[in-house]
């Protein structure tokens, strides 16, 4: 391995760890919030039961409402944990056949909290039969995340980040839409020496912007 290659793989590895750490911390925060809500809801059910036992007039429907909300919080927490589990399995193979639309959906889910804090909704679309591609899924997931990071500050007044995947070029194309004021600096990914840039090179990917249509475009080649 040449020194340049070694430096490239080290940058890829550092970026991969950084991304995984960021996603784990974000999911952990979200789960802790869900547990905090469940804790309070269960406590409120207890408070209502105690009040009823002591003869206070309390509408029993309040119990039913709170129980329903607890179930809802558990479902949401389960969905988030499921996404983290899927992310964990993304590293199972360094090269495999994947569905790009499905991976975009996974990253969008993991970025849900970050987006909602910026009052942005992420919507993903793709062909019904998916977009099949042979690639390194973890690098692809990381780069989709890098594109979302670049796109979020540029989302227009619709507050909707639409991500569309489609077959194209010699692999797949992912478009990040509803952006305003995008330019080439938005796809620099921290400069030539950055880990994300190294990942892009390893994947044989390309990021461009379409200023007129307000899009960041990510193209990735099939490495089969």
């Amino acid at each position: 391995m040449t020194t340049a290659n070694a430096a490239c793989w080290r940058a890829v590895s550092d970026e991969g760890l950084r991304f995984f750490g960021e996603m784990s911390a974000s999911v952990s925060h979200e789960i802790r919030n869900k547990l905090a809500v469940i804790n309070e809801k269960a406590g409120l059910v207890q408070d209502i039961a105690v009040a009823m036992k002591s003869g206070r007039a309390v509408d029993p429907e309040r119990l039913e409402i709170q129980a329903g909300k607890i179930i809802d919080q558990i479902r949401q927490a389960n969905r988030i944990v499921g996404a983290l589990g899927r992310l964990g399995h993304v590293v199972d193979a360094t090269r495999t056949r994947i569905d790009v639309t499905g991976l975009v959906g996974l990253v969008a889910e993991l970025y849900g909290r970050k987006a909602s804090q910026a009052e942005i909704t992420i919507e993903t679309t793709g062909p019904l039969d998916g977009v099949s591609l042979t690639t390194n899924p973890f690098l692809l997931v990381d780069l989709i995340g890098a594109c979302i990071d670049a796109a979020l500050p540029r989302v227009d007044g619709s507050r909707l980040l639409a991500i569309a995947s489609e077959p194209g070029g010699d692999g797949a194309i992912v478009r990040f839409r509803h952006l305003e004021g995008v330019d080439d600096s938005d796809v620099q990914l921290g400069g030539e020496a950055s880990g994300a840039r190294a990942m892009l090179a390893v994947l044989g990917g390309r990021m461009t912007v379409d200023r007129e249509r307000g899009e960041i475009i990510f193209e990735v080649s099939d490495c089969e």
Binding site: A25, H29, R32, N33, L35, A36, V37, I38, N39, E40, K41, G43, L44, D47, A51, Q66, K69, Q73, Q117, A118, E119
Partner: protein, 117 residues
Amino acid sequence: MKVLLVDDEEELVSTLAERLSFRGVEAKWATDGRDAVDLTEHESFDVVVLDVKMPHLNGIELKKKLERIRPEMKFVFLTGHGSEEDFRIGSAEADRYLAKPLDIDALVATLMEVVKP
């Protein structure tokens, strides 16, 4: 005692407000810094319980804004992160600091302690 609860998780603050009312504490809530500032401009609270990390305006910045409006108010910070950094910031900046999930009796005891003359 009047308490203002501020956290971006609406289900958390609305439920906490209900639980506090069962314990004789009057609580209002807001889900972001802007609403908290609006409420504080109209009425004063004995204690503000707020999350360290919130969108738009984080807990530290919000505390500074609210202090300018009502210098007499006390502050209790909450966090869901539990990181060393949060703990350091929380303990340095607020009158008290509590980690989520909360123990309601510990919260009430903390509120009582904070407002004690």
